[in-house]
Symmetry: C2
Subunit: 235 residues, 2 copies
């Protein structure tokens, strides 16, 4: 039961392991939004990599979410603010979604045997699931345009810490060790720790402090989104 952390979608092929469960992480905000969506009754989500693909789903009558550079793409129904999914109109719906980083990470990991969606919002649910599966785990951080990002790394460190120190998992991977060390510094005040981080500042400029605080508050949405045949569904 080995753990690895892949900091960017670009690096995925170096980490690909046919036996791993892949946990895709995009804390600000795609995987937080997806977790929230399922908690609020969305039936299925279709992650797509490009805005062009998203447009096709829109033309077919689907509800479609599209975000680029932190903002809703004009002409679509939703962006990737979790608050957009706390709405009765999404209940029971199938929603196609494309985001700057999160859906790219899902796409990069498409050869993985199993993909689940992780965020602070479903932190304990993710741990419970991985603990029971007893398989290798690969965290795939969405990052920002293939650069390392802090909040995704912190989440991987949080989960890796519990799996290793409570549930008998192991690691031989420096990126996992670094993620756990960073989480150990940050855990008592994630919001404060991220004050200087690049993405928090990017979103603060877009007036998204409320989103950031929500996305960093653990266990508000105890559901597990999982990929099945190209769709995200609730496990």
């Amino acid at each position: 039961m080995n753990i690895e952390v892949c900091y960017t979608p670009q690096a995925y092929q170096l980490f690909h392991n046919p036996n791993s469960i892949v946990v895709v992480i995009d804390i600000l905000r795609a995987t937080s939004a997806i977790t929230t969506a399922f908690y609020h009754g969305v039936a299925k989500m279709i992650p797509v990599a490009t805005v062009e693909e998203a447009k096709k789903y829109k033309a077919e009558g689907f509800m479609v979410a599209a975000e680029r550079n932190g903002e809703l793409v004009e002409g679509f129904d939703l962006g990737n603010s979790p608050f957009g999914y706390m709405n009765a109109r999404v209940k029971g719906k199938t929603i196609a979604i494309t985001t700057t980083n999160g859906t790219q990470a899902i796409s990069a990991a498409k050869e993985a045997k199993e993909i689940i969606i992780g965020s602070f919002l479903n932190q304990d649910t993710v741990i419970e699931y991985l603990k029971k599966q007893k398989k290798d785990v690969l965290f795939v951080c969405a990052g920002w345009k293939n650069k390392f990002n802090m909040e995704d790394t912190l989440f991987s460190g949080a989960i890796a810490h519990d799996l290793i120190y409570k549930y008998g998992f192991d690691t031989h991977c420096d990126s996992t060790l670094a993620a756990m060390h960073l989480y150990s510094i940050a855990k008592h005040d994630l919001y404060g720790f991220l004050a200087n981080s690049s993405h928090r500042n990017r979103l603060a400029k877009l007036d998204l402090e409320r989103d950031i605080k929500y996305c960093l508050t653990p266990n508000q949405c105890p559901v597990l989104p999982i990929m099945e045949n190209g769709f995200l569904v609730k496990a």
Copy 2:
């Protein structure tokens, strides 16, 4: 005077900045060996990416260093143990060198305006130089086969910390912030902190503890190797 840290050669193109001074880092052991070599009187070094290229230099009569997976490649004069360069026979020589990660990092950054070689062995010399140049700085960590590695990251964090907090440099890059946080935990006992790191363990199996301790001891070789027209020379 902006600072960025690129954790692996694979990611270099995402960070390329025509105005940056690139600091190539491969603590265990290529850039430590190169720093040691110049301190002990080597005249020039020719970094080459492949063993095949290294063979050509060998055939032309050059002294040649070649390392793969921590070991000297058979038929060559030197590996990348710094202790191999503490020898009168290298004095005044031009040495071609290829290593598993370090020379790949130099090669990845070949479009950079300026490349210097950093290691704990010339830590203060690197800081002095960068402080005077007053340019953007990009640290390029060699990593291990394009995966993140701890000791290269720690060194980038050490230098970034001084440039930012003492000399007016700035950063907007999460990988720089992470490197500085990790260094802040590790700095009082680098050797102990790296006890679980992947590369320290890889080298320990090859009985290279003496090399590791040497490479983690700051400021033993106050020289600055710098790239000029495809050669490394002493600045």
